[in-house]
């Protein structure tokens, strides 16, 4: 065991002794404090009405009222002044706010509103244009359908009329044949197709 360890052990023992002495001293002081006698409380009651005379009481009340009135008026004046100052300050503040902040905000709001309005107008214009285009397309498509249907019905009517008239003509011709009157047509047809007939009949 070297000298350093020896010193540490002695130091440790010294501290144990000091702590034990301190605890003992504290317990002794606590015991002395509990054994000290408690102070006596004396209750004294004074009747103001019996101490002062009636004259003095009225004077005191008057002075008190006077003092109270004075204090109240001073407090009221101060409060009024403070309120006026507060109102003026608030007014200035509101004015500043209105002139600076609110006006700026309002301008921003107006700009935003104008931008929104422009955008809305643009959107509505675009929508209106799309609606117009769509309406035009639909109208054209409908016109085409109506025209096609009309032509189809007219064609059907024409075809039907042609059938009726041609049937009537054929029926009528069947009962009134005049080959003499037809001879010109017959020879015209023969002349017109002479080459074909010749080629076919001689083949």
């Amino acid at each position: 065991m070297d000298s350093l360890q020896l010193i540490l052990v002695f130091g440790l023992l010294a501290m144990v002794v000091i702590n034990a002495f301190s605890l003992f001293w504290a317990m002794k002081l606590n015991h002395q404090l509990h054994e000290r006698p408690s102070p006596k409380v004396y209750e004294v009651k004074v009747d103001a009405g019996k101490v002062l005379a009636d004259v003095d009481m009225s004077e005191i009340e008057r002075l008190t009222k006077q003092q109270l009135s004075k204090v109240a008026s001073e407090a009221g004046a101060r409060f009024k002044e403070s309120l006026d100052n507060a109102v003026d300050g608030l007014s200035v503040r509101v004015s500043d706010l209105a002139n600076n902040s609110l006006l700026g905000e309002f301008e921003k709001y107006q700009v935003s509103l104008q931008a929104l309005r422009d955008q809305s107008i643009q959107e509505f214009s675009k929508l209106q244009k799309e609606l117009d285009d769509r309406r035009t397309q639909l109208t054209e498509h409908l016109d085409k359908i109506i025209q096609a249907e009309g032509e189809k019905r007219l064609g059907s009517l024409d075809e039907r009329m042609n059938d009726v008239i041609s049937s009537y003509l054929i029926e009528s011709l069947g009962n009134q044949v005049d080959l003499g009157a037809q001879s010109a047509y017959i020879f015209d047809m023969l002349h017109e197709h002479k080459d074909e007939i010749k080629r076919d009949i001689l083949s």
Binding site: I170, D200, I201
Partner: protein, 165 residues
């Protein structure tokens, strides 16, 4: 030159049936002519002329054939038989039977424009309204009024529209 080159058919002889009938009649005529000649020779008399139809006489006349000459008639017979085998025929359908004049005109047209021995047949189909339908070989030419009306039906509405406007 072919055997039938000198023959000219009369316009009244227009159909194959008529030609066959003329050929048959001509055979009989030749036979009768031969018999008559034999009898006349035996009787030392002048040979008469056998009876012949107007169509046969017309055929002999058109062909410049002497009716009393047996050789000529036999030649004509051979020519007609050759024509019967080769003559082109057109079959015509009409709304009514044509009269003799129209038949002659049509026969003349065919023999002038198509072939000198062209033959025609005529039949009736009342529902064609007018005009004619002609069949030659495998081809049919329809120039009937019915066909003209049906193939140009759209013209009816066009005409109606033009008249209405």
């Amino acid at each position: 030159m072919t055997a039938e080159a000198t023959v000219h058919l009369p316009l009244d002889l227009y159909s194959p049936e008529q030609l066959s009938a003329v050929i048959i009649e001509l055979r009989g005529y030749i036979s009768a002519l031969r018999d008559t000649a034999v009898r006349a020779k035996a009787a030392h008399a002048t040979a008469g002329t056998p009876h012949a139809s107007a169509l046969l006489l017309g055929t002999m006349h058109e062909s410049a054939t002497k009716a009393t000459d047996q050789a000529d008639t036999e030649k004509l017979l051979k020519q007609l038989e050759a024509i019967r085998d080769k003559a082109p025929t057109a079959h015509l359908l009409m709304a009514a039977l044509p009269n003799r004049e129209l038949k002659r005109k049509m026969t003349d047209w065919f023999r002038t424009e198509i072939h000198p021995f062209a033959l025609l047949t005529f039949a009736v189909r009342a529902d064609i309204g007018g005009g004619f339908i002609m069949q030659t070989g495998s081809h049919v030419y329809n120039y009937s009024f019915r066909e003209q009306i049906l193939s140009h039906k759209s013209r009816i509405s066009e005409i109606y529209n033009s008249v209405r406007q």
